[in-house]
Symmetry: C2
Subunit: 641 residues, 2 copies
């Protein structure tokens, strides 16, 4: 009786970071999620632990950062390098910022706490949406078939305690199983090893007492007795990474292990002449790890994979969980826009294209970093200036490489290549009002929009503009009115024209509006008109000068998303309007910046009188939306991918 | 059998803000607290709701702010004034900042959420210290006698459910019972009414739908149909205050009441022509309130009172809970320093002196504010400039009065008069190195130390200097090394001299050091040497230049409290060392700023070579410490009060 088969929008296997962030997102947006994990309980301690600056912004945008920070993670602002010195000593040869000021991060540090605490925050949020993770369940079989074309994926699940089995159907299956993936194996997707070298790592979390001065910093220590990486943790703990064996060793054994005492003894020798004793050990593990990347992230655009299933690498740069976060949100919004009838199915291609490119960048970086960790010993001269903000003169190639890597490892180098979402001169749609890279280098499609502080008109709160629209699955239209658009009636012709054309019944905006015209939008400040768009209007005026009732009607429904660009910013002290300046808008003219649901810029269009601005946006959105809107079943535009 | 009588350090009656903050503090410091409340459960909704900027700093200093903010309180940055206009309308005649930029607050807003949520945070913290609030218990009798001189207060308690009674003895009894106080009545302490006028207020919390544009702001609305105060709340709620009757009315009845519907109708008329409908009402209350202040806060320095027991006033300025917080922490640290053998008992006098002065200031302000609320209708011209930062030219007396009141209502005007703690030219101890008001107007004894951002050397974290020493009952010695004290050995002679004399066995610092020389101080970064002092050292150097092992030994035990003054600050952009500049130190010379346990400056002394700096501090501390330190029983110095 096939009618009894439970139906889900998605089945998610694995409740690590990638699976959890995906199910949190989809459950919030109303999708029916079956989420299982084969472990009986969430991670209790240890494992991944580094949340990079950009990931903190993502968590903030999801309203989750505060809950993570409530665990008081350690915060790493700088990295220190220690090298061997004469007399069997070690000396600090340099320090640098983990997220230098030129990156303009809201949270210029890495937060360190164990993966289980992060999972706990995500699981609590999931449960608020009425979903949950079932444990210990595993997947035993799956196939894509046409028994139910709307739910083409058939999945067999099994409870590992009771051996009860369950067959379900879903629109999508997502594997967040980790490096050992049943789904990837069944699909026959190969892992390519970028670097044939593999390593055995020992990792130990605990509380130490030591006179080593940088025990609260992230450090790499090279000594004549080996190398170690020090990472501070929550609860006064520290994590030590020690390389126990490498496939380059003459007698390499990937199963080589070491006891707690052996690792502690090795650490003691490396730290000498500083002492290092252990008050307690919280977690200890030894594991072999190689670099690898999956050939494909999906074969049929129904069964997808993300996180460690697709990419493994050394733990040294603290990238694993962060890459998983990006995988999850990248897939979440694309699946959402397809399944809710907004975008054509072909956009799902971009998941693999965008995320695999980043994984490849990560593995290349990891290679360099591993080489650095094993061999390079920078001297103090080389690096002492690297932490200076915006210092444009650097002393050598090594510091240059470091800077580039800082940007990547902190998450701000996650820059997607041109495609249907990320406009460029290669895009099939072109319009003279689209702002090009050479016209404004601060707005780079594929990268995030620079942050800015503004005053919310309705309550005079000083807020982070970039977080004013949450990760709600909508495209974000940030309308920077420009310096010539005054706050008084009659002073904002370009804005009035924009509003008029935006709300024309045939516009991309109106086509996807809510169908229920009696909908109660009084308290809906994010999506009063459409599930697919959230607007924010930034006026270059002082807050008391702005009267919301003077503005075009479309903005009055967005009363909670109107901002005065009237705060001074130390980075652009001379600017007339700081938030405008931070996105590169210093002239009279404004712009509409389209930001994808994940915070990356899609396109920016000059705000001018007439219909040109909306025309340009129209052309951009026609590139991937279905032509007839929510009516469904209509002709879909061809993909430009 | 008197030996069976339970003994406590303190019995606290009432678990509102004053009682809870007091028991949280004392329980954290290891005191044995009996805390009762006659209500069966904590406040469920409504009641006091405004946490002012300075109170947020206090909560932050206690590690409690994040938990309060997790409830997403509304944040009030500005106040709007609405007045009658021709045609039966109302118009906005001005807005101003609730905490203007010249106040330099960390959190320049009032946080609004109902008292029960704040109580919940405090109760959870109390339970972490192993204490709790017993409910529903009441006090039936108390007396101070000499049956047990160490525990002179005898208290009878009774459980209101079971009628079980309990007689206990304590060193102190504290009443936080609220306006109707059994203890105050028993003591025969009179309430003086500052203003003979009393009012009946209606207050309503709920969710409204309205097109009134400032519903998310704090507003006072004067209309031809009456006056109303609007205060935004957590969870999209709003609070309305309506004055229902006044003793100046011809037919005044203090028992006058009004139904929900009557108040809603009255509000509707006042808001017209804007509409105002209610989605739901969460809380509604009508209560008469008069201004009053208790003659005494204690009679015998054993039974003390605080909070609404001692001062009542109108709710309009949101001061009640904030004044209670200050009462609690002021009493807490003084009792702590007496009971732990540090300070002479006479310091307890200063609780009433300091806090009653503030209550009187509050009542004076409340009078002015009430008059303003009832009569004054500022025009837009008068107030439009009040929100501009640091604007020194203001247009009239009214704005001046407003500014002075902003400082007071935001909590930064809590400025204690000169006494034994707050040094001035009237203090009995004088020393040429003590920095006088005319030498540095930013360091004003009796007021808080200005905030500053610095880089913590040990982990490169950018931190709020003023919060680096928590409310731990210790005096805080902030040592600003000055611009001439370099980070390298040999560059810090004044600092070395200071360290040498500070740690001399006869110094005030050494006299109160831990008696157990084998004490494990490895992880004790706040109080490695003494329960009564916490040190923080600020060096005008870049973090990478500072090597903690180069500093005098005393600071090495404070490794976690050494800071680089190397962050730019938009308020002092030209300064060589921002944190130094913010406390008024722009010359070569440094200073030691003594901050009382509650964050208020006690005295500031120039940091010079030789023993002068420690001598000056010695003289200051001798003013109120017991002469022989913890040995106990020794001769106590006379009080200079």
């Amino acid at each position: 009786m096939p009618s009894q088969i439970p139906l889900y929008d998605i089945v998610i296997i694995g409740a690590g970071p990638v699976g959890l962030l995906l199910s949190v997102s989809l459950a919030r947006w109303g999708y029916k999620v079956r989420h299982i994990d084969n472990r009986p309980v969430p991670t209790a301690t240890g494992r991944a632990d580094g949340i990079q600056p950009r990931s903190l912004e993502i968590l903030q945008n999801m309203g989750l950062k505060r809950k993570v920070m409530a665990f008081d993670p350690a915060r790493v602002f700088e990295v220190a390098f220690w090298d061997p010195a004469p007399g069997d000593k070690i000396v600090r040869t340099g320090t640098w910022a983990s997220c230098p000021e030129f990156l303009d991060a809201r949270y210029p540090y890495t937060a360190l706490l164990h993966q289980g605490l992060i999972e706990r925050v995500l699981i609590e949020d999931l449960e608020k949406s009425g979903a949950k993770v079932q444990r210990p369940w595993t997947i035993t079989r799956f196939e894509t078939n046409h028994k139910n074309p709307e739910y083409p994926v058939e999945v067999d699940l099994k409870n590992l305690d009771s051996n009860v089995t369950d067959t379900v159907r879903a629109k999508y299956l997502f594997s967040g199983e980790g490096a050992r993936s049943f789904i990837r194996e069944q699909l026959g997707v190969q892992i390519r090893h970028k670097d044939p070298i593999s390593h055995v790592w020992g990792v130990m979390d605990g509380v130490v007492r030591t006179n080593f001065p940088d025990i609260k910093m992230k450090c790499t220590i090279h000594s004549d007795h080996g190398s170690i990486m020090v990472i501070p943790r929550e609860n006064n703990m520290v994590r030590l990474y020690i390389q126990i064996a490498s496939s380059t060793d003459p007698d390499f054994d990937p199963r080589k292990s070491a006891t707690v005492e052996e690792v502690q003894l090795a650490a003691k020798k490396i730290f000498a002449p500083y002492y290092c004793d252990w008050d307690r050990v919280e977690w200890y593990s030894v594991y072999p790890i190689g670099q690898g990347i999956a050939d494909k992230y999906t074969l049929d655009h129904r069964v997808f994979m993300g996180g460690d299933v697709c990419h493994t690498h050394s733990p040294k740069a603290g990238q694993g969980m962060n890459t998983a976060f990006h995988d999850a949100i990248n897939f979440a919004w694309k699946m959402h826009l397809v399944e809710s009838g907004f975008a054509s199915r072909s956009i799902l291609n971009t998941y693999e294209v965008e995320r695999k490119f980043i994984a490849e960048t990560l593995l290349n970086f990891d290679n360099q970093y591993a080489a650095l960790f094993s061999k390079r010993q920078p001297s103090a001269d080389e690096v002492s200036d690297a932490h200076e903000s915006g210092s444009s003169e650097t002393k050598n190639e090594f510091v240059e490489m470091f800077k580039a890597n800082c940007e990547f490892t902190s998450g701000f180098g996650v820059a997607y290549n041109p495609n249907i979402f990320n406009h460029s001169s290669e895009h099939s749609f072109q319009h003279p009002l689209i702002i090009t890279k050479s016209q404004n280098e601060k707005l780079r499609p594929g990268r995030i929009m620079p942050p800015g502080n503004v005053t919310r008109v309705v309550d005079a709160n000083v807020v982070h503009l970039e977080n004013e629209i949450p990760f709600n699955g909508s495209f974000r239209l940030f309308i920077f009115a420009g310096l010539s658009q005054g706050p008084k009636p009659g002073q904002h012709k370009a804005l009035a024209d924009f509003a008029q054309h935006l709300t024309h019944p045939d516009s991309f905006y109106s086509r996807f509006s809510h169908k229920d015209s009696n909908r109660d939008i009084h308290h809906d400040s994010d999506n009063p008109h459409s599930r697919f768009f959230s607007l924010a209007l930034v006026l270059a005026a002082r807050r008391p000068e702005i009267e919301i009732s003077d503005l075009p009607a479309v903005f009055q429904d967005y009363a909670g998303k109107i901002y005065a660009d009237d705060k001074k910013d130390i980075r652009v002290l001379e600017a007339k309007a700081s938030a405008h300046a931070k996105v590169g808008l210093e002239g009279e003219e404004g712009a509409v910046i389209v930001v994808r649901p994940d915070g990356h810029v899609g396109v920016a269009v000059r705000l001018v009188e007439g219909r040109g601005t909306v025309d340009a946006l129209e052309g951009y959105f026609r590139g991937f939306t279905v032509r007839t809107g929510l009516g469904g079943g209509g002709e879909r535009v061809k993909s430009y991918l």
